[in-house]
């Protein structure tokens, strides 16, 4: 009787809370007099109430084990969300998200425009001068050297003058690459819009280009910015952005893909299948998406003339230009659709078909689930995300919202099970260690040592994000060695990383083995060990 009455007061309590309170109530029942003694029942009830109130007070004060258990679960979940939606936890962040609530954190991250950007980041980005120049200007500055170096243009150059010009030209190209890489890294470390940066990492590798090919360096930062604009937007828009972007057209040779009967000179003599194939295999349908070699050829013909006006002035603001005279105007059959030869619209139609294709929905969903949940993502989740992708016409934000609310994402078996890529690993170290102005030159060397230079994946499939790809003996040794270097200030102006602060930042969530290793080692190795621990290597 008492128990029932007492219980009803607390109907709003969660099951877990109840499970902790019920034994107390049982104990109260045990204390209470048998029901036959009705006279004392009122008095007893009052007494029971008092005991219960004291118990609750104790619970509140954290004397009984219950609040810790509750807090721990909360903290695990908070940490899970932070480590998947960002490049890693920063000092005080666990407490901040605990206070504001996971849902608020998630919704803010899904709507990056709602988050004011870090002024420190904006100031640092403002110092990178090549970022302020548009790609055509960058290209023109580069071309100036080439024009001067051409024979018979102007006066004859001495060998020394030639050398100097070549050196300057190469330095300028290097500068454009380095500043784009630096901006990328600074955003990863400092941006408040972390999920957006995480999605830039995802999409850049999905629509990969490499810094080393031809004149791509001058379009790198611009390409990434365009991806950023649509990173949480609509997939069709994102696809269009990459398909019209000089970086992609140059990288996959579509700037050289022309109608076979074209009268143009040089190496512009016919079809080049490279982009058409990867557009289906890697960007949309996936390799098992059901297309044939005939579809590859048809799509290549549809995309003839999609090229780059490097100097600007003829094409759009990004230097994209549709060269009508290079286009194959014959009718095509593409994935069962007849596409009359009308010009640039054919390509737009093809992109429509690809973006809304169920195979694309499934392929993108699989990759998202793999990136955010597990190397072998649960099929149930992939299916659900695929449906959401189709229902929402490729609304990336909606798909991600579904993903983050899914039971699979929230299943503790998937917590902390993603092995970080070298990039994720180093950036998370910088964030946890509060290194806000890292030595970029050193870090560049570190990324190279770990085989993951920024924008350096030469193949169009981009860097993988699975454990299979990155966990290996030599890689482990390199990681812990770099952890030691960073712990001792290698990238923070010789300022060593504070172990106590670091431990606190990470929520002190270490396995007994890690704790033991730390306890048994000299105190000055503490930061090294934390940064090199399994807890830092996984997200």
């Amino acid at each position: 009787m008492n128990k029932k009455t007492n219980c009803s007061v607390y109907t709003s309590w969660s099951e877990r809370q109840l499970s902790l309170v019920l034994p107390i109530l049982d104990y109260l029942d045990y204390l209470s007099v048998p029901p036959s003694l009705e006279v004392d029942s009122m008095k007893k009830s009052l007494q029971n109430w008092c005991i219960l109130l004291v118990s609750i007070a104790l619970l509140w004060l954290g004397i009984l084990p219950y609040p810790q258990a509750m807090g721990a679960e909360n903290q695990d979940k908070v940490l899970h969300y932070i480590s998947r939606l960002s490049f890693g936890v920063t000092p005080g962040q666990i407490q901040q998200v605990q206070a504001s609530g996971i849902e608020n954190y998630l919704q803010a991250q899904l709507n990056p425009e709602s988050i004011p950007e870090s002024p420190v980041l904006e100031r640092r980005l403002g110092q990178l001068d090549t970022l302020k120049m548009g790609p055509p200007d960058l290209f023109k500055s580069f071309q100036k050297y080439n024009i001067q170096l051409q024979p018979n243009k102007g006066r004859n150059l001495s060998i020394a003058e030639k050398k100097e010009l070549q050196q300057k030209r190469n330095q300028f190209r290097q500068k454009a690459i380095k500043q784009a890489q630096k901006a990328h890294l600074l955003r990863g470390v400092l941006s408040e819009r972390q999920l957006q940066e995480v999605m830039v990492d995802f999409w850049f590798n999905h629509f990969n280009v490499v810094f080393s090919k031809k004149v791509i360096p001058f379009w790198l930062a611009d390409y990434e910015n365009d991806i950023r604009t649509h990173a949480l937007g609509n997939f069709r828009d994102l696809l269009a952005t990459t398909a019209h972007h000089p970086a992609m057209l140059i990288y996959l040779d579509n700037d050289l893909n022309v109608a076979p009967n074209d009268k143009a000179k040089g190496n512009l003599k016919g079809i080049n299948e490279n982009y058409a194939r990867e557009l289906m295999e890697l960007h949309t349908l996936g390799v098992d998406g059901g297309y044939t070699q005939q579809d590859v050829i048809a799509l290549a013909r549809i995309l003839t003339g999609w090229g780059v006006d490097r100097k600007g002035g003829l094409g759009d603001e990004n230097s994209f230009k549709f060269y009508e005279r290079r286009h194959d105007y014959s009718d095509k059959v593409f994935l069962g659709h007849t596409i009359p030869g009308t010009g640039i619209e054919e390509g737009e139609k093809a992109l429509d078909i690809l973006a809304s294709h169920p195979a694309t929905a499934r392929f993108i969903s699989y990759k998202l689930a793999q990136y955010f949940v597990a190397d072998q993502p649960p099929t149930s989740l992939v299916d659900r995300l695929g449906d959401k992708f189709l229902d929402s016409n490729g609304n990336i934000k909606v798909v991600l919202d579904t993903l983050f609310h899914s039971p699979e994402f929230n299943d503790p078996q998937y917590y902390h099970n993603k092995f970080k890529t070298p990039y994720q690993y180093l950036v998370s170290i910088l964030r946890a260690s509060n290194i806000n102005n890292p030595n970029f030159q050193r870090l560049r060397g570190m990324f190279a040592q770990l085989s993951m230079p920024i924008y350096g994946c030469a193949t169009p499939d981009g860097y993988k994000n699975t454990q299979d790809a990155w966990l290996n003996p030599e890689g482990m040794l390199r990681r812990v060695s770099l952890a030691n270097a960073i712990a001792n200030g290698a990238v923070s102006n010789k300022q060593p990383v504070n172990a106590q602060q670091l431990q606190k930042t990470l929520g002190n969530k270490f396995s007994p083995t890690t704790k033991n290793a730390i306890a048994q080692s000299p105190p000055r190795l503490r930061s090294t060990l934390i940064l090199g621990s399994p807890e830092m290597m996984n997200r």
């Binding site: 040779d253 050289l256 893909n257 022309v258 076979p260 190496n267 512009l268 003599k269 016919g270 079809i271 080049n272 299948e273 490279n274 194939r277 295999e281 390799v287 070699q293 590859v296 092995f419 040592q449 770990l450 085989s451 030469a458 193949t459 499939d461 454990q467 299979d468 790809a469 990155w470 966990l471 290996n472 003996p473 030599e474 890689g475 482990m476 040794l477 390199r478 812990v480 060695s481 770099l482 030691n484 270097a485 083995t513 890690t514 033991n516 290793a517 048994q520 080692s521 000299p522 190795l525 090294t528 060990l529 090199g532 621990s533 399994p534 290597m537």
Partner: protein, 406 residues
């Protein structure tokens, strides 16, 4: 001489499984039972190299018709092919390996490749590395399964050059990495005992991170010792800027000085020549040739117990495309090097280049499964049993009667 005696004694005293750390190559070679172990080195040319311009069918007029700007001219013409057998010729930029052909330890297998028709680089590479064309679910690579069927002697029994493990070596057997480039032996923090003993406590378990860590520590100590010894010796091409040549020298060094190293894998990228193929080949082939020559030279007498297989995921279109390049094709050429290879010969089932003879009317057909060639090496060279072959290449029936080993 005294030192040599001492090391030999030490080697024998420590049993047949362990060599004293830091022993010199000439000592290792003289310890019987270890030195004559058979080796296999696989070199993967990623991006699909155009075999038709590597081993040129210069007597085939269709070849010249299909490739008006990128064909390699007849032998004797300017920048012409180097004639091999009156029908095929070698790309002139590969002159470094011509002596091996003349020595009859270099052979080619034409019209070879994967029976799967995919023209995706990534699928085709995965299939060649898993050894199960058409089956995506295979999670390990055939070299890892091969390692599991060789006498066990860890941990540098299989070495990969690179900081990431390629599919071909993924699987349950541990493998060692050698960092590519010139930095593989530069000291890193973990070389300091203070640091490694602290991490030992953290990574002493059986989880995958711990296992990787432990294998790394074991392999590094061996690699460091063996490579440091001869880092500056004559067989290393001092001053070269080409990474593959450097890596080849290191692999040879490691194999020669550490008798346990039985399998090695290397990769060279950059063969996806959709445009300007001539320039790419003229720039990249000399390095490839020089690297192979360096490898052979570095192996010294061990070359007679080594087979080197050079493969690529698929070939390229017979016809050149509109950009003086070639697109993704099908059949290709495999390269075989080794003291035990009956070289100086192009093994082939050549069917010409007329459209009707081509795969889908455009590519070289695959008449010889790449597994036929590798299976032959596994059986004859590495003494792999039929049963073990079924484990290494599941769902595969040896089909050809290739016989290119002495």
């Amino acid at each position: 001489m005294k030192r040599r005696k001492l090391l030999q004694t030490l080697a024998l005293a420590s049993g047949s499984m362990l060599l004293p750390v830091g022993c010199n190559s000439w000592v290792a070679k003289e310890v019987k039972g270890l030195s004559n172990r058979k080796r296999l080195i696989t070199i993967f040319l990623r991006g699909a190299i155009d075999g038709l311009n590597v081993v040129v069918p210069h007597q085939e007029s269709d070849y010249y018709e299909a490739r008006p700007t990128i064909a390699i001219p007849y032998p004797g013409e300017k920048a012409g092919a180097i004639d091999l057998d009156g029908f095929f010729g070698l790309h002139p930029a590969l002159a470094d390996i011509l002596p091996l052909w003349k020595q009859k330890t270099l052979a080619f297998i034409y019209n070879s490749g994967s029976p799967d028709g995919t023209r995706s680089h990534f699928d085709a590479q995965d299939y060649m590395e898993s050894g199960t064309p058409g089956i995506k679910s295979t999670s390990d690579g055939w070299m890892n399964r091969l390692l599991a069927r060789l006498p066990q002697d860890r941990p540098t029994q299989a070495v990969n050059v690179g900081n990431t493990t390629p599919k071909i070596l993924q699987g349950k057997m541990p493998i060692a990495n050698l960092s590519p480039g010139a930095n593989s032996t530069r000291p890193i923090s973990i070389d300091r005992p203070r640091i490694s003993s602290a991490f030992e406590l953290m990574y002493g378990g059986q989880d995958s991170l711990s296992k990787a860590y432990q294998e790394g520590i074991k392999a590094r100590s061996i690699i460091l010792e063996e490579l440091k010894q001869e880092m500056m010796s004559a067989n290393r091409n001092a001053g070269t800027v080409n990474q593959f040549v450097d890596d080849a020298a290191e692999v040879a060094q490691l194999i020669v000085s550490d008798a346990r190293t039985q399998l090695a894998f290397m990769e060279v990228g950059g063969w996806d020549t959709h445009i300007a193929q001539k320039q790419v080949f003229n720039r990249s082939l000399p390095n490839l040739g020089k690297g192979l020559a360096t490898l052979v030279q570095g192996l010294g007498s061990v070359y007679s117990d080594t087979v080197i297989v050079v493969i690529s995921e698929f070939g390229r279109t017979v016809k050149e495309n509109g950009n003086n390049g070639t697109d993704h094709g099908h059949g290709n050429v495999m390269w075989l090097l080794g003291g035990g290879v009956r070289g100086g010969k192009v093994y082939h089932q050549w069917s010409g280049l007329t459209e009707s003879e081509l795969y889908e009317g455009r590519d070289l057909p695959v008449n010889i499964d790449f597994r036929d060639a590798i299976a032959h090496v596994l059986q004859e060279h590495l003494s792999i049993s039929n049963q073990d072959l079924g484990y290494i290449f599941p769902q595969y029936q040896l089909a050809s009667n290739l016989n290119f080993l002495r």
